[in-house]
Symmetry: C2
Subunit: 202 residues, 2 copies
């Protein structure tokens, strides 16, 4: 009896993992991907999908969570030591690719999840940015006249607005990191201090 | 016959106007407001609403269009002469209130309309910002190393992110205009030039 339930549990876990991965892939290509498509891509039936997820929102939530978790692991290897401005440029360079890849998934999330839940899912990557901003403030290179959560949100907004600009054909992906970095570093500069010179090498 | 069809047309116009105004009001309070609620608020039956609008998306589109049109008329009275930085601060101060009031309607629009359509609806207010940015660049107070559409989008993103911050309790409405202005003016400052000192009077 116990062996049978262990096997059933392992089976359920495999199905759930396959569904979450398929959802991240399908919604990452098309935010309108249906639950039937996701079940098919996961190699499970719709009944199995509904047995594990009560709604489309739950599937989208799990896919977003998984994508952010994978992104977070990638960002953990970015060198954030040294000058906080250059560390921020490196973080933008690395995060940008993730935001770019996840932009279709984010559209699906914005349709299904509340802004509060989307924020909660981003809390680990947000914490990394907060820590870096706090260090830049302590070092005198980032402004202290605006709250840290505001500055984090500005950085996220500018990254997401780059995704929109690419989607609407106003920006090419190869220019995105430079535009984001130049904008965010200027926005973070303390009043009275000069805006850093931008450019590919800055 | 002609008189009867004229009367019918006038009747239809009154119904449409009432529905659009009711939609702007209802969705402005609650982005999930149903078409039945909107019909009730407009004093028409559901059949009449469906006779004029084929879908929820069409109702949301018309409500957004009307709200932007009214906002655009209000913004037309903002003094955009003199120093472009101070003109931008006045424009943020006036636009912010509109964005704040329209943020629930925007949530409804983001669920029903494409980003391209939302951008198209904003084209008149966007043109006003573009003209001001172009003047600030000609005067040497705004940066020229980033494209104008990018800078317009940064300003919109920062305004909308202020709306999100208020909704999630991280920002009070009375601080919003100052935070937006301080952020946008810094983001627009040419590299190598000092960020303007922020503050209620700047």
């Amino acid at each position: 009896m116990s062996t049978r339930s262990t096997a059933k549990r392992a089976d359920a876990l495999r199905s759930i993992e396959a569904i979450v991965q398929a959802a991240a892939d399908c919604l990452g290509r098309n935010p309108e991907a249906s639950l039937s498509e996701i079940a098919r891509a996961a190699g499970v039936g719709r009944v199995t999908l509904y047995a594990h997820f009560a709604s489309r929102a739950e599937v989208v939530d799990a896919a977003m969570n998984s994508a952010i978790d994978q992104g977070d692991k990638a960002l953990a290897s970015v060198d954030l030591s040294g000058d906080a401005r250059q560390a921020l440029a490196r973080l933008v360079e690395a995060s940008w690719t993730l935001v770019d890849r996840a932009r279709s998934l984010l559209v699906a999330a914005q349709k299904e999840l509340s802004p509060a839940r989307i924020r909660e899912l981003h809390s680990r990557p947000a914490a990394r940015v907060e820590t870096l901003i706090a260090r830049g403030r302590a070092d005198g290179v980032f402004r202290t006249d605006l709250p840290i959560p505001w500055l984090v949100n500005v950085m996220h907004s500018v990254m997401h607005s780059a995704a929109d600009e690419i989607r609407s054909g106003n920006l090419t992906p190869d220019r995105a990191a430079d535009c984001i970095t130049a904008t965010v570093l200027a926005a973070f500069t303390p009043p009275g201090r000069p805006v850093p010179e931008s450019g590919p090498s800055s």
